[in-house]
């Protein structure tokens, strides 16, 4: 089984929980870029390719894709308890923060300083997501057909604003064909 690590690399249930708690709490602008940062660059539990693949599956499965990734990884490392640990970590911390924010927002949401801080954070969080996409695209060294599918997904989402299920399900056959072609060409 290619994705199972040697025992030395198996995080414990507690490590899975704490790591996902961190991913949830720092996850400004969406969690996927941060999950990649922590799992691939900081902890080195996954390679660039492994993370990209599990995220791809998470997008095809129904439901929030960060959740689908957390459950698959928790299960791969530590089975059911691992999946539960990553899920509670991912949602528990942010839920508490959000509850506090909702209360504060009703009181202070229109204060100009708060708006300005949020606007500045939003601008850099957007760059964080873009930088992550560029980093993945350059590190994965994709073949030309794979790049074409990626650009099609980008155009479909950002320029045409198509509903995500159409993009994912519509492009999946092309992505699979491109991966098959690449495997043959590089064999």
């Amino acid at each position: 089984m290619p994705d199972v690590r040697p025992p030395a690399f198996q995080p414990t249930v507690a490590q899975l929980f704490l790591t996902y708690l961190k991913i949830g709490l720092v996850g400004f602008g969406g969690v996927n870029a941060w999950a990649r940062r922590v799992l691939v660059e900081e902890k080195r539990w996954l390679t660039e390719q492994e993370y990209a693949e599990v995220l791809g599956l998470g997008q095809v499965l129904p439901g929030p894709n960060a959740l689908n990734v957390a459950i698959q990884l928790g299960d791969r490392f530590r089975g059911g308890p691992g999946a539960l640990a990553t899920t509670i970590g991912l949602f528990g911390g942010p839920l508490v923060v959000l509850m506090g924010l909702a209360i504060l927002h009703d009181a202070y949401g229109e204060v100009p300083l708060v708006k300005a801080v949020l606007a500045g954070t939003a601008a850099t969080a957007a760059g964080m997501i873009l930088g992550t996409a560029l980093k993945m695209a350059t590190k994965l060294k994709p073949s030309l057909p794979i790049i074409a599918v990626g650009i099609a997904a980008l155009i479909g989402g950002a320029a045409l604003r198509l509903p995500l299920p159409y993009i994912v399900l519509g492009l999946a056959p092309f992505g699979i064909a491109a991966a098959w072609w690449t495997m043959k060409a590089r064999a």
Binding site: G63, T138, L154
Partner: protein
């Protein structure tokens, strides 16, 4: 149904159903959530929905947590927990079942090709969500207002920082917050 239990049941059924059609991620079904919350049940106005959505975007954590805020608005803390569980429970069990199945199939050549084939879509969609967030962030005073040069510069700086260095992106978020406070 106006009693608390009835509302909680509506929240549970509504979000569980929505979660199971959310292919591509929770954000894919925001229009459907809007329809459920504003049009079908009349729990809040369009403007309030947009506010809660913006708040969930600004906060850390999965963007899909907007359902927690909706539940909180409609039925307090219990509503928040019920909505979050409904959005994550059934989809989570499905993902868990898939993960078990995948464990048995691991190594199958067709599965490897499928997994590799989904990668460019995953990366393309991260890219696309970055573009959409950047477009929104470029107009800090709201949609249709003037473009803020500072906001665009912050986005470009943070893109290059994250792409070309391995330092923690928390640094750029702090810089963004401070720059926003001082200059925006």
């Amino acid at each position: 149904m106006n009693d608390q239990g009835g509302v909680l049941l509506q929240i549970a059924i509504g979000f569980a159903a929505i979660s199971m059609i959310a292919v591509g991620g929770g954000i894919a079904v925001v229009p459907e959530m809007n329809r459920l919350v504003v049009d079908v049940h009349g729990w809040m106005s369009d403007a309030r929905f947009a506010q809660l959505f913006a708040l969930a975007q600004a906060a850390p954590g999965p963007n899909v947590l907007v359902v927690g805020l909706i539940g909180w608005q409609v039925a307090g803390l219990t509503g928040m927990l019920v909505a979050t569980l409904a959005m994550t429970g059934p989809a989570g069990l499905f993902a868990f079942g898939f993960s078990k199945l995948r464990g048995r199939l691991a190594g199958a050549r067709w599965l490897r090709i499928v997994e590799k084939g989904l990668v460019p879509i995953a990366v393309g969609l991260i890219f696309s969500s970055g573009v959409i967030l950047a477009q929104g962030a470029a107009h800090p005073a709201g949609p249709g207002t003037a473009i803020s040069v500072l906001a665009v510069c912050l986005t470009v700086f943070s893109t290059l920082f994250v792409w070309l260095t391995d330092r923690s992106p928390l640094w750029v978020l702090v810089i963004g917050a401070v720059a926003g406070a001082l200059l925006l």
